[in-house]
Subunit: 362 residues, 2 copies
């Protein structure tokens, strides 16, 4: 695969999720853990795009502490490429910062924005889509968003509604006009989306030319365009205090709300490249090795009449008797046992622990 | 409470159960573990009877390795009181050995036989029953067995059917003639037993005058009486090799089968002294401290919508989400997660481990 000239990849690594507690903690969020494979998710993300871009054109965005972790996990990343946010202010702030950084070097450079903590099992297909999108972005005034062919009526993902007609095809890959962004739907609505065929999952990955991003902000998101201009100034002057002030003042909003949902002419590039945001423990049931009773496991499991469990207990024997569909996660100081369909409630445990002053487990 | 002259307590400590795996292992069976309280079960048993007999009149019966553990756990037990069986041959052999040992010192001494791994929550009542039974045994030709008022139709215990009439009362305690020993019944049969009122649980605890035991063997169990006589000879000669030979040849049978079920004139002393044989993990649901969601626990438990679980995970946090009625047991090298009503199937795990050569966990 040839590298794509003018393409810069921005890996958003500032997340601080709690859904993989007790493995993930405040200081070691999901992207820095080897959850889906034996490598951390950010390493997997970095390695996945390397065939398309050299390390010198990969940027990460995260706070100072996270950036130190990133530089340890990605030793081949040039030091200056780990962009440091003064504080986490959601993705609009991160991506204005990263795109402004690119813009100052080359306003016509293409920026691909990836999450640091998603999995993509069909990397070749994904890279083909990404290369075609970069090519498309070079010649259009459109922002491009990546959609994923839904395989089931998920209520955990947002959806993108698109039009079959009026798009373009680049290097054999189709780009469809976005009609609307839809929030996480109910099951019935999701089923309707799937039946209609005109919807894809919103992967949270984007691609744009830096100058196009700037013009889209100016036209469709004037509130944030102000910060774009201030960000350019602060970066030009290398003023940490200005940057800190901007991050104090910029609204805490996702790029979806701040720009994508307002922008006109956005195109979606859809594909079935084995994407998952690995939103919680139960997602690992499909990723880890399974025994003949469909128990996904890390560690030695001895199962008697026990099916469909997810067990993370490396280095110890886990014996299961008569239990189905539970998640078991062992760490040095904590053990989680959770019904698989309740894995979103890990946050309730964290709330209880915080309430009871057991902050050592957070 | 006054000590009872002429009473010797024999604690049977040779068991090697597997039902408390992974806490209990081949080399640390239940009686040597602090399962029900913070003391090991054999320490609890020893301390419980001390108000009635001095340590010099408490004997234990177990194999050599177990006897070393006993002497470590019960430092006040005189060294010679830990009787060593050449090998485990079930309770008939153990009790013929122990009773013969007592008989050689005083044929009219009273022998009370206790299990080392049962719990008794109302110790004063139990000791009152024991003292009365010792008094009764001194003046009758009967073997005495201890029964427990059933509180639910257990299918896990054997039952003793008794007659209301024809017994005797000693120090206010009634002793009823035993009509029959009944094996572990079905639930329907157990319910019938409870309704009739003429049945008590067989606790596996007994009491007899040594000479009465000898005569009962001679009359009702001649097969074992042969071994009784050989045992007396071997003990008199202090011949370890004779004893080893006897233990090679003596049938492996419980005292229930070998004698109690055949003996005539046996009396039952019944009481509701909070007895349990603590047969498996779920039994601890009633013994350990519980939270407001009826989770019995050892260790710090944070429960979200989780009820009626039994958790042994000292020194670690256990978080439960949406799980009911399961047993969780953490040890250094293994973690057990078992539905409460399947706790008898721990042996299936051990069979699987043995089959797969994972003997380090046995």
């Amino acid at each position: 695969m040839k590298t794509v000239p003018g393409l810069t990849v921005v890996i958003m690594a500032g997340g601080s999720g709690t859904r993989f507690w007790p493995l993930s903690r405040k200081r070691s969020p999901k992207q820095f853990l080897p959850i889906a494979s034996s490598r951390t998710m950010i390493e997997e993300t970095f390695r996945r795009v390397r065939p398309l871009v050299p390390a010198s054109r990969i940027l990460t965005v995260a706070n100072a502490a996270q950036s130190r972790t990133i530089r340890r996990l990605l030793p081949s990343l040039p030091a200056g490429n780990a962009l440091v946010e003064p504080k986490g202010r959601n993705t609009a702030a991160s991506l204005i910062l990263a795109t402004a950084h690119v813009y100052l070097r080359n306003p016509e450079a293409i920026v691909a924005v990836l999450a640091s903590d998603h999995i993509i099992t069909d990397a070749p297909l994904f890279l083909r889509k990404l290369a075609a999108a970069a090519e498309a972005a070079a010649s259009t005034e459109s922002l491009i968003t990546f959609g994923v062919q839904p395989t089931y009526p998920s209520t955990g993902y947002g959806y993108i509604q698109f039009a079959r007609e009026g798009g373009l095809t680049v290097s054999g890959e189709p780009f469809f006009p976005v009609l609307a962004f839809r929030e996480k739907p109910t099951l019935a609505t999701a089923a309707g989306f799937l039946q209609s065929g005109g919807y894809v999952w919103n992967s949270g990955m984007f691609l744009w030319r830096a100058s196009v991003f700037a013009r889209a902000l100016e036209r469709d998101s004037p509130e944030f365009f102000v910060f774009w201009r201030r960000m350019l100034e602060a970066l030009k002057k290398r003023s940490a205090s200005s940057l800190a002030k901007i991050f104090d003042e910029i609204p805490t909003l996702s790029i979806d709300y701040a720009l994508m949902e307002k922008a006109r002419g956005t195109l979606v590039c859809a594909g079935d490249f084995g994407w998952s945001d690995v939103g919680a423990w139960s997602a690992l049931a499909d990723l880890w090795p399974r025994d003949e009773q469909e128990n996904a496991r890390r560690g030695d499991v001895c199962a008697v009449d026990s099916r469909g469990n997810v067990v993370h207990n490396p280095g110890k024997l886990t014996a299961l008797i008569g239990v189905d569909g539970i998640v078991v996660v062992q760490t040095k100081d904590a053990l989680l046992i959770c019904r698989k369909d309740r894995d979103q409630d890990v946050k309730k445990v964290l709330e209880l622990l915080a309430k009871n002053g057991k902050t050592e487990y957070l």
